[in-house]
Each structure stands twice: as C-alpha cells, then as structure tokens.
C-alpha cells in the first residue's frame, strides 16, 4: 500500500461558480453519462428493446394484418408503424422504473442522498439516458418498418416531427414510471408492477387497430388515452390525415397537451418520492 502525504482537506463551498441551475445540469449530465456507460455494457437492453417491437411489427403486419385492414384507407403497415413507435416507448419506459428500483435497492440512491448534488439530478440523468436509448431504438425499428413496406405519405419533416413527438412521449412516460420504480424499490417488482399500467395503455388504444372495432364501453377511454392520441398525431404527421374533420395540428396539440400534462403531474411526484425514497 502506498503512503501518500496528507493533503489538506478541501471543502468546496460553492459549485465552482456554476450556480444552482448550472450545478443541477452538471450533476444531471454526470448521471446521464453514468447510465449510458451502463447501457453500453449491457447491449442486450438495446437488442431486446428493438426485437420486441420488430416482432410486433411482423406479427401484426403478417398475422393479424389481413383481418384489420378492411376498415382502413391506407395500407395496414402504414397505419401500424406509428402505433408501434408509441407502444415501444411505453414498454421502454418500464426500464426507467427498473433502473431506479435497482439504484434504490443497491444503495446507490442512499449514497447520492449523502452527496452535495442536486436533488433532481438522478431522475433527470435517468430519464435523459432512457430518452437516448429510445432514440437509437426508434431508428432501428423504423429501419425494420421500412424493410417490411412502411412508407411515409407526407414528407421527411412530417416523419421527423412524428419521431420527435414519439421521443417526447417516451420521455414523459419515463417520469410516470419513475414513480412506479421508486414506489416499489425492487427491479423485478418494478417490472411486474409496470405491466398492469402498460398493457391497457398499449392494447386498449388505436396503436394497432382502429378504435371503431372496440366495444362501445371501451371506446371513450381508448379514444382519448395518451397512447391513442399520440399515435393519431404521429400518424397524421407521417401518413397524413386519415379522418376528415380533424387537422394534423389538432392531433399534435392534443398529444402535446397529454405529454406536458404527464410531465407536469408526475415530475414533481417523482422528485418528492426520490427525496423520501431511502
């Protein structure tokens, strides 16, 4: 063991001139980097995050596609892909819950609580890392979509705007699932607890089939819940307006209202839960 000369204790009293906001951003970036290193060391996360929607695309496109396409004015795969993008980020948001629950269980959050860092940094670093993961997964899945015949009917800007909306939606959902992860505090339970939240959002939605095919009692929920609203907006942006009477802008505003609402409600809940988590 090497013996080093005692260096006087240094007590940084300021965040090196960064100020409160600057310090919070610098902490969040440190946590974001940490989570991305973890993602790089577990490439299977990206692989399975991509494989799951790709399998859904193949199943719905080739197995169920014939049955549901009658009611549509566009090829089913073009209807399906925007729905897949939305479904995918819902399932992906579960990893926010799992990641935070793992940090809680391992004692990492306890350590972070004892450090002079911003109280929002851990959540910001986690949700932005999950956003980064979604970015790559969305690219991979759209490539798969193009291979099986998905075509954009609007233009490249509509497509990119749709992608942006999907990613923002995924980001908003990360805050919802952050509260799930912090509430259960165990990665396996987080996974199990996320499913009942995800399943109705994804399947009782217009992501894969038109809401018109659903029973009357389910339709009001299915039509207005965030996955359907976002899927409609993404569809409008990528393949144009399929329902007369509603403009693309209306869909997009509705979707933005949902995702901003989710963040405004769940981010403070998640931060409060984080403070009390350990």
């Amino acid at each position: 063991m090497s013996r080093t000369a005692a260096i006087p204790f240094t007590i940084p009293d300021e965040r090196h001139g960064l100020g409160r906001i600057g310090g919070a951003i610098s902490d969040a970036i440190a946590l974001w980097q940490r989570n991305l290193i973890g993602l790089r060391r577990t490439p299977q996360t990206i692989v399975f995050s991509t494989l799951q929607p790709v399998i859904f695309v193949l199943l719905f496109r080739y197995v169920f596609g014939g049955a549901v396409s009658q009611t549509l004015t566009v090829p089913y795969v073009d209807y399906l892909m925007p729905g897949i993008f939305c479904q995918m980020v819902v399932f992906g948001a579960m990893l926010t819950a799992v990641g935070l629950a793992a940090d809680l269980k391992s004692g990492m959050l306890e350590r972070f609580h004892s450090l002079p860092m911003s109280r929002s940094a851990v959540l910001a670093g986690r949700t932005t890392a999950d956003l980064t993961r979604n970015f790559f997964v969305v690219i991979l899945v759209s490539i798969a979509g193009f291979i099986v015949g998905f075509r954009i009917h609007t233009n490249v800007f509509g497509f990119l705007a749709g992608m942006g909306l999907v990613l923002l939606f995924g980001y908003a959902l990360s805050w919802v699932f952050a509260t799930v992860g912090l509430a259960v505090g165990d990665p396996e339970t987080a996974q199990a607890a996320s499913f009942p939240v995800m399943a109705p959002l994804v399947f009782a939605s217009s992501a894969f089939v038109s809401v018109a095919t659903m029973p009357g009692w389910l339709r009001p929920f299915a039509e207005h819940q965030p996955v359907s609203v976002t899927a409609s907006a993404v569809r409008a942006l990528m393949i144009g307006n399929t329902t007369p009477g509603t403009s693309t802008a209306t869909y997009v505003w509705q979707a933005l209202a949902w995702l901003i609402g989710l963040i405004v409600v769940f981010a403070p809940i998640a931060v409060r839960q984080y403070r009390k988590a350990v």
Binding site: M1, S2, F9, E110, R111, S114
Partner: protein, 325 residues
C-alpha cells in the same frame, strides 16, 4: 461544543411506525478521533448514521457535523462528509475508476482533481489492477474497498462507515483495519458502527454502546472494561458434555455462563479459582485450561444489555481457547 468537536448528537429520536429506532441518543465526537457505535442488529446504528449523513430527517433532537445542522444546513454537511453504507453501494456496470469519478463529480470536486484522486485511492485500496474492470466482477472485499474509496474521493474531513467489515473474510478485514488506521492517522474524524466488539476495541478511541435505540454506556474501551471492575475466570473443558457437567458442578458459585466448551465466572466468586478447581475435582472433572483474565468488551456488553453481542467468526477464530487477547 468546542472547536474540537466534529459531531454533536443530542436527544436524537426516530420512529418507524411503532418501532423506536432511536429513543433519545446523545454523544459527541472529537475532531480527528475514531468513535465507535457498538451494538447488535437492530440497535439503531444505521438509523443514526443515516440521520447524520442527511439521508433521513430525525423526528426529534438535534445533530450537527462540524457545526452545521444536518437538517437546516444539510448541503453544507454533505460537502464535508463521506459515507459508506452498510451494503457496498457501487454501480456494478461502472469500472472502479468510473465509480470514483462519478462520486467525485457529484461531490462537486474540481474536474482536474478527480482523476488523480481516484487513481490515488485505487492504488491505496489495492484496486489499481482492477481499476478498469466493471465492479460486478469484483469480490465482496474489493467492492467494499471501492465503496470506502468512494466515500473518500472528495477528501471529506468527517467520515461515516456503517459496519465496514461485516461480511468480509478474515484477511480482507485485517487489511481494511490497517487502511482505516492509516486514514485516522491523517486526521480524518471517523464514526464507525460495528457489531464486533473486537473491531470497536481495536479501532475506536471512544465507544458508545447502543441497544434498543439508546446509548447504554460510553467511554474509552478501557473505561468500559473498568466498569465491570473485576476479572473473569474462564475455563475450557474437553467437550460440551464435560462443559455442561462442569456448569452444574459450579452452580453453587453463582450462574456460570456456558458458551460451547467454555465456561465463564466472575473472578470474585467465593473461594476464587481455587474453589472452582476444588468443585470440579469433586465432580471428577478436569479443565483443559483455566485462566483469570481482565474482562473483555464481550463481558461488558453482556452485563450492560443482558444479552450477548453477535459474535464474529473472527473472534471465534482468533481467540484461542484459554489464550490471552
């Protein structure tokens, strides 16, 4: 409180539902000393550490670190402390070096000092060879050392270690003790908790014995031993049957404490060691060894709490039957 007091704890209370984890705890730790919080599982040690490290707010009472209140001036406290919790909290996916860099960063260290400090600590805790391996590949002892290194990255003047050697093998434990002693030599104030009497005895200048959320005794190790104020007669029998028979043969001398093949009696029994031998001889028994020794912290603990402290495999391994400490 004087300038020399690093930690002040006054009437600290904390309840979890019906459980009184801390029922009014008081103690002070002088700067540059090692203070041991010694107690069995569930005594309230971790709760005390978590309050002092600003992780948990207390229900009542007051705690200060270097003059800063852990509730009101939490951020100031956090800039001055290092903490290694009861379970090594390292990111299994990050390498040793990356783990230290992350902590240095969020501990608000200047960027240019982080890596040199991380490398210095990796070397000091003998992790240089493993520095670029993800921590999930580390052994328990290595993870624990990395965890303590992480607590030290920002060079905090006050350090909290919660059961630093629990779960470590003998070799790792001895290594860690040496490292802790070195830290203290540099002037770090250390509050450590332990269930191991020997650990407190070896490392701490002062000890508070805590049980059921209360400090039931406090002092230097020798003061605590002096409280018992008398020697102990310790007998080692050939096997447990003999030990059991011996216990009955000696029952007229008060209640001997039976621990496997070992019997312990207060040194001041009527007739002393001679009477013990006579009684054993009368029962046709012969001890392997008999010794009269100073009371150990074990004895102190038993007397204070009415129950035994958890024994470490270490003590069982290093205290030879009849041998002196």
């Amino acid at each position: 409180m004087t300038d020399e007091t690093a930690i002040v704890v006054e009437s600290l209370t904390k309840k979890f539902g019906d459980v009184e984890a801390l029922a009014g705890v008081d103690f002070q730790v002088e700067s540059g000393t090692v203070f041991g919080l010694l107690g069995p599982n569930g005594a309230g040690k971790t709760t005390a550490i978590r309050i002092l490290t600003t992780i948990l707010p207390p229900d009542g009472g007051r705690a200060e670190v270097l003059g800063y209140d852990v509730v009101r001036d939490a951020q100031k406290v956090r800039l001055r402390i290092g903490m290694a919790g009861q379970f090594a909290a390292v990111d299994p996916l990050l390498t040793g070096r990356e783990n230290l860099r992350l902590v240095g960063k969020v501990a608000q260290m200047p960027n240019d000092l982080i890596l040199p400090r991380a490398d210095e600590l990796l070397e000091r805790f003998e992790l240089t060879d493993a520095a670029n391996r993800p921590a999930r590949t580390y052994s328990g002892g290595m993870r624990r050392r990395l965890d303590i290194a992480a607590a030290l990255v920002a060079r905090p003047p006050v350090l909290f270690l919660d059961e630093p050697t629990t779960g470590l093998d003998l070799h790792s434990r001895n290594e860690l003790w040496a490292m802790i002693k070195e830290l203290v030599a540099e002037g770090t104030t250390l509050l450590l908790t332990t269930q191991y009497l020997e650990e407190a005895d070896r490392l701490a200048g002062r000890i508070a014995v805590i049980d059921g959320g209360r400090v039931i005794a406090e002092g230097t190790p020798s003061e605590l031993k002096a409280k018992l104020g008398r020697s102990v007669i310790e007998l080692s029998m050939a096997d447990e049957t003999d030990a059991f028979r011996a216990e009955r043969a000696l029952s007229h001398l008060g209640r001997p404490e039976l621990d496997g093949t070992i019997l312990r009696l207060p040194g001041n029994v009527p007739g002393g060691a001679m009477e013990v031998l006579r009684a054993l001889d009368g029962a046709g028994l012969e001890p392997d060894t008999l010794m009269v020794r100073e009371p150990s912290l074990d004895d102190v603990f038993l007397q204070l709490t009415g129950h035994k402290a958890e024994r470490s495999e270490l003590e069982d391994a290093t205290v030879p039957v009849g041998g002196a400490r």
